[in-house]
Amino acid sequence: MNIQLHQVSYSYPGRGQKSFQALRPIQLSIRAGEFVALIGPSGCGKSTLLRLVAGLLQVREGKLLLDGAAPLHALARKKIGWMAQSPALMPWRTVIDNIILAQKINPQPDGQRLSAEELLEMVGLEKFRLAYPHTLSGGMQHRVALARTLALGAPLWLMDEPFASLDELTRENLSAEVLQLWARFTPTVLWITHSIYEAVQLADRVLVMSPSPGEIVADVRLELPRPRLENTRGYLAQVTRLRRYLRSNPGERGIQ
């Protein structure tokens, strides 16, 4: 699924007349199947941008199109897989029921939709299908959430710092699995992170945002072969480059 943003900005309505501008006009085009990481200082509007694409916030200024249609239209047609920082599982439902819930709310089969059992097997949790989330470790809960994100067979994955609360080793393992799943299903991915390393590890392309109100100050294409090893020269060069963009003033543009 391709994503087009034409001068999309966003302001949160405030009390009285004052409103808070979260995003400056953003011009952006993402091709189908691209893995795009979005980095920027906290509070810069990364999540706002992601929520606009997800249709969780309504676009009021500018134009946002997913495969040529408005996000709400894509949402209605179950084309979005959403994952947030907290796994947000339903603690009163078993692991398998958590995944089934997504498919229950969206009953129509969407082409190549996998069954809840297949999804669980994919993240290696088939033995825990009848366990309740609170009995699982944080990493396992995130695996369930990941399986659930794929439950609708959506061609667009919107990930809002999905593994930020996990320890480093678990995060690396899960990131590697995400890359495998991405290679298998070839969705478009928009991945928010505050870690430059994570961005370089995962993405084809990294968008760097300025402090609030956010705008895209750098658009970096990473031409690094996978799997990417942290100690190679190319990897480190990209990390250094992205760090420089992040430190640059919001006014200075560094668009490639």
């Binding site: 997800a54 249709g55 969780l56 949402l75 209605a76 179950k78 979005i80 897989g81 959403w82 947030a84 920082q85 907290s86 947000a88 339903m90 603690p91 009163w92 819930l101 997504a102 709310i105 969206n106 309740y132 989330p133 609170h134 659930r148 609708l152 919107l158």
Partner: protein, 272 residues
């Protein structure tokens, strides 16, 4: 020598942290402590009434109260069943109304201010003023008791359920919205289950309140029940009779509370 001392430390006996929090293994449980305290109070009460020779029409000794209970078992059993039945039905009515209104307000938040004003109006009307009116309108039967108990118990349920429905985890709601869930689905699959702990918190307040509601309602005019027994005992200054009813009500209150807690632990298994 030092080695053996280290090994004799009872570290391995602690199986998980909950055991540490609950106290040392072998320490008396909460129930034993509670029973001990109640017994101690009764003992002091018994001793004081005997030592000071308190007349029975001022304060009867616990032994005298228990004797009265034993001698009038049948009377108290019938009265208790009636009162507890009224309290239970009233609680069902109040909890259903409270939950129902909270769900409506959850679906249509615009109604909240208007409905809550009305609810507070009902809540702040003194029951002792309403109870005789309902008795005049509806007679001496069980219906006015159930209504009064319902009026008394619905407010805690309404307020708590409303908090519960409104504090649902935003990340869970977002997840469902990303699946294009309807307002009703958000309520059914996230907000309602998340408010279950709040519902039980409310029941723990409303359960014992239901007993008070039923007794107060009976006090203003009834053909039976513990409230009527108490009223008769009061007008005759028969304090052993009065206290017997109080004993039953206290015991019932504790049992209702514990029962609600037990069900809560079964249903809200993911918390705590």
């Amino acid at each position: 020598m030092q080695k053996t001392r280290l090994e004799s430390l009872p570290v391995s006996r602690v199986r998980d942290t909950s055991e540490v929090i609950a106290g040392r293994p072998g320490a008396p449980s909460g129930l034993v402590v509670a029973l001990g305290l109640v017994l101690a109070v009764f003992l002091v009460w018994e001793l004081l009434t005997r030592l000071l020779a308190v007349p029975v029409y001022i304060l009867p000794a616990p032994s005298r109260i228990l004797q009265t209970l034993a001698q009038n078992g049948q009377v108290y059993l019938e009265a208790s069943l009636l009162t507890l039945g009224e309290a239970a039905l009233g609680l069902v009515l109040g909890a259903t109304a409270g939950t129902g209104i909270a769900l409506l307000l959850g679906l249509w938040p615009r109604l909240e201010q208007g409905v809550m004003t009305l609810a507070i109006l009902i809540k702040s009307t003194p029951l002792v003023a309403v109870a005789p009116l309902l008795t005049i309108w509806l007679g001496f039967g069980v219906l006015p008791k159930i209504i009064i108990t319902g009026l008394l118990t619905f407010f805690p349920v309404l307020v708590n359920m409303l908090s519960g429905l409104n504090t649902a985890d935003p990340a869970r709601l977002d997840t469902l919205r990303s699946w294009h869930a309807s307002r009703w689905e958000l309520l059914r699959f996230v907000r309602l289950p998340e408010s279950l702990p709040y519902f039980f918190a409310a029941l723990k307040v409303s359960g014992p309140l239901a007993l008070i509601g039923a007794v107060v309602a009976e006090w203003t005019g009834a053909s039976g029940g513990l409230g009527r027994l108490m009223w008769l005992a009061y007008t005759n200054l028969n304090l052993p009779y009065l206290f017997s009813a109080v004993f039953i009500l206290s015991t019932a209150g504790i049992l209702i509370y514990s029962g609600i807690q037990w069900v809560e632990r079964k249903l809200v298994f993911w918390e705590g």
